[in-house]
């Protein structure tokens, strides 16, 4: 990849010459928004896809160990939610593969052979997931119990490997390696080198933990809400504690992974780090501003910690941190979006980590849930907070990559389609997604209101409310 020669004099920094030509497209921003919208819809389903199966299996495992029908009732209910979310994820994922080609044909045509293998391997994972999710969900009470649990394990593994390969491609867009380029032609493709690039590992762990946090806190929040509404039986308690424990542990570890990710970004994409911090000038012993927001060209408000950024990014208070001035204005990402999203993510992530610490510590010392209603309210709020943190972090990664689609190699305006009607497609897809989201939420609520599926003869252990019969 072309390396940028950092010149001492800011005036000599010119926009990088590119090997490609810009496409005539009046609606580049709409094309980007359309892609972002589709990813935003899909990413929440992905969070459930990669982490929820583990929670379902954990619950079923508890049932197999103890024979307690509450565990089984929860696992069965969740597996239906899992199937519905997976099905919607399948179609929104399909739309994403269409859009990669429809919106960014030059990107796919030029670099498909470099990173495409990542999607091929992801496809295999997706396939495995689809097969076993069907066997698992339709196999309840039809396969022997232990075998049934085993058929769930490939779902968990495929969820992890699927995320792994998609992240590998994303890491590659941010740190493109594994090919040579001259005159706009890609040569000497090394597909596996492209996959296991330097942005890969930390992005993977960061995203996986984020997935556990979003799915765990959202699920726990549903039952915390029920608790606040007075449904305080064992079923609701267990169904809250398990996902909350998953999410809390992930939330506690996440800041450490975040620190690692931040340092890697400083190493591999210094301009992105400068945008995240709103650092205009290259600075030795750069301060860290906490809480300040970026508008009108500078960070306003917040608290400055002297040498803090140098310390965080390089573990050295005197380290020099590159500022936005190292590249021409045309090569900088929109700093406001990146900086402010980053602050939001860090703030929410910290709050969620504190909630996690509080829950785990309380459980450890007292062996029970906190009694305060505020705790349950916090759990209800934690789901949306985790989702907002996820989206903010994703804005940091992807908007922070701008104006490049392939970092410092190809610009978004060189990748975009020349087709007409992008706003029409964007509007139509937005309407469709609003409709699907409304239908999905409405029907998931209906599913939640259905009577719990207790095993025959288990009613005595169940809640005093209605106990329904088996539903297919």
């Amino acid at each position: 990849m072309p390396l940028l020669e950092v010149a001492g004099d800011a005036l000599s920094v010119l926009a990088q010459a590119s090997q490609f030509t810009a496409v005539d497209q009046d609606y580049l921003l709409e094309a980007r928004q359309m892609q972002a919208m589709s990813l935003g819809v899909h990413i929440i389903l992905v969070c459930f896809g990669i982490s929820f199966p583990a929670m379902v299996l954990f619950m079923e495992g508890l049932y197999l160990r103890t024979g307690d029908p509450a565990y089984k009732a929860i696992a069965k209910r969740w597996s239906k939610v899992m199937l519905i979310l997976f099905a919607i994820g399948v179609v929104t994922g399909t739309i994403l593969s269409f859009e990669l080609g429809l919106l960014w044909p030059q990107f796919m045509e030029t670099f498909g052979e470099v990173f495409g293998i990542g999607f091929a391997l992801e496809g295999i994972s997706f396939f495995t997931e689809a097969i076993f999710i069907a066997i698992y969900v339709y196999g309840w009470d039809r396969l022997p119990p232990k075998l049934h649990l085993l058929t769930g394990i490939p779902i968990v593994i495929a969820g992890i490997t699927g995320a792994l390969f998609v992240i590998a491609v994303n890491g590659w867009m941010n740190y493109p390696v594994g090919f040579e380029i001259s005159g706009g032609e890609v040569t000497e493709v090394r597909p596996f080198e492209a996959l296991f690039n330097r942005q890969f590992w930390h992005e993977l762990f960061h995203m996986y933990l984020a997935g556990v946090m979003v799915a765990g806190f959202l699920t726990a929040g549903v039952y915390a809400y029920a608790w606040l509404k007075g449904r305080r039986d064992r079923y609701h308690r267990v169904a809250m504690i398990v996902p909350l424990a998953f999410a809390s542990l992930a939330a506690i570890v996440q800041p450490l992974i975040g620190d690692w990710a931040g340092r890697k970004v400083g190493e591999n994409q210094p301009v992105k780090l400068a945008a995240m911090e709103g650092l205009d000038q290259t600075t030795k012993g750069a301060p860290l501003n906490l809480g300040g927001l970026y508008w009108d060209g500078k960070v306003r408000g917040g608290i400055d910690i002297p040498d803090g950024l140098s310390l965080l990014a390089y573990h050295d208070p005197d380290a020099t941190v590159e500022g936005l001035d190292t590249v021409a204005a045309d090569d900088r990402p929109p700093v406001g979006w990146v900086r402010n999203s980053f602050q939001l993510m860090v703030g929410l992530g910290t709050a969620l980590a504190l909630l996690g610490v509080f829950f785990v510590a309380h459980w450890w010392r007292r062996g029970r849930l906190p009694r305060s209603r505020w705790f349950f309210r916090a759990v209800v709020a934690a789901g949306p907070a985790a989702f907002i943190a996820l989206i903010s972090g994703w804005i940091v990664t992807e908007v922070g990559r701008q104006p490049w689609i392939v970092y410092e190699v190809m610009r978004v305006e060189e990748a975009v389609t020349g087709a007409e009607g992008v706003p029409v497609g964007y509007g139509a897809l937005a309407l469709v997604y609003v409709g699907v989201a409304a239908a999905a939420l409405f029907l998931l609520r209906r599913l939640a209101r259905r009577p719990v599926e207790w095993e025959t003869g288990a009613k005595a252990l169940g809640p005093t409310e209605s106990a329904g019969e088996e539903r297919g």
Partner: protein
């Protein structure tokens, strides 16, 4: 190496056509099943048959897309740039179909179930139509290599529209055969008869459509015609025709389990025939397979990926289809409308 990856791509298209295509065909029968009362049993059977397999069947489309853009990026770009209208419409259809099918089971009232059902069924008919027009547009050389083909006339010629209709027809035909076999396995006799009639009708209609297609292709796309009427292309067309006739006979003597496979051969052979007829061009008159292909390192990696896929997926798919075909994953048969009234009663 390019030939090998091409074979993988064609295999993916065949699998999607005979598995995913049949799911679309099931939607056709859902759409045409009649009023809520009369169609309840047919719709119940369709939902029960598709439930466990449609996601895995759909993933073949993803497989086709990733092999296409990784293995043949220089053809993928132009196809996406020229045929974006039918691709986008198919994509929207896929959202509607998948979401409506997944959510239909949770519908509370007959009205909701009807909206979901109609969405599912209508989308199921439109998706194979648009995919068919895409195939027809590629086969008749409507996609220029620089990607600036006309967004409308490229796929609205007589051959693309014909292939679109053929896509709907073959799906409906296979679906009726599969559903008859599923109903027979479950011993639901009235539905066996219902789908037998549909399968016979669809087999004859699709057969006539295929014969008519010979004249259309001859008149409109002579290169494709000569590819399909000589050498390996001709052999495959004859295999398809023979399999179609055998299916008809198997339906007549009520041997549905076997008819399932033979009907798939009839459809699969014609797709392979299309690929053979186009050889050596990917975009006829514009770009050959070799020119479209990715670098050797990528093709090798892709083949490694496919081998991994075979190791992982063949046993997994075998397990899924064995469980399904032995009825191990069958849910209790329930006509669709009745299911919703039971939910309502339960709530009281």
């Amino acid at each position: 190496m390019a030939e090998l990856v091409l074979a993988v791509l064609v295999l993916g298209v065949v699998a999607y056509a005979v598995l995913g295509g049949a799911d679309f065909g099931a939607g056709f029968w859902d759409l045409t099943a009649g009023g809520a009362e009369r169609g309840a049993r047919v719709r119940g059977m369709i939902k029960r048959s598709m439930g466990p397999v449609w996601e895995a069947n759909h993933v073949w489309l993803i497989f086709v897309l990733v092999v296409f853009w990784t293995g043949f990026p220089r053809a993928f770009g132009p196809v996406m740039e020229t045929l974006y209208v039918p691709l986008f419409l198919a994509g929207i259809g896929i959202i509607f179909r998948g979401a409506a099918f997944a959510l239909r089971g949770e519908a509370a009232t007959i009205a909701q179930a009807r909206v979901m059902g109609a969405t599912f069924a209508l989308a199921s008919v439109l998706i194979p139509f648009f995919f068919g027009t895409i195939v027809g547009a590629i086969a008749t050389g409507q996609v220029p290599v620089d990607g600036d083909g006309d967004p409308w006339t490229s796929w609205t010629g007589i051959v693309p529209l014909y292939v679109g209709v053929l896509g709907v027809g073959t799906g409906a035909y296979m679906a009726a055969v599969y559903l008859a076999a599923d109903a027979q396995r479950s011993g639901i006799d009235d539905l066996v008869r219902a789908f037998r009639v549909r399968a016979l009708g669809a087999a004859i209609a699709t057969g006539l459509l295929a014969v008519g297609g010979i004249f259309i292709v001859n008149a409109e796309a002579s290169d494709l015609y000569s590819g399909l009427t000589s050498g390996a292309g001709l052999v495959l067309v004859l295999v398809s025709a023979a399999a179609g006739l055998v299916t008809l006979w198997l339906l007549w003597v009520e041997r549905y389990a076997l008819a399932r496979y033979v009907s798939a051969v009839a459809v699969g052979a014609i797709i392979v025939g299309w690929a053979v007829a186009q050889r050596p061009d990917f975009l006829p008159g514009e770009l050959t397979f070799d020119e479209a292909a990715a670098a050797d390192a990528t093709l090798t990696a892709l083949v490694i990926g496919v081998i991994i896929a075979a190791i992982v997926l063949v046993p997994a798919l075998t397990l899924l289809y064995r469980l399904v075909l032995h009825g191990r994953l069958d849910t209790e048969f329930r006509p669709i409308v009745a299911a919703d009234t039971t939910h309502r009663e339960e709530e009281r």
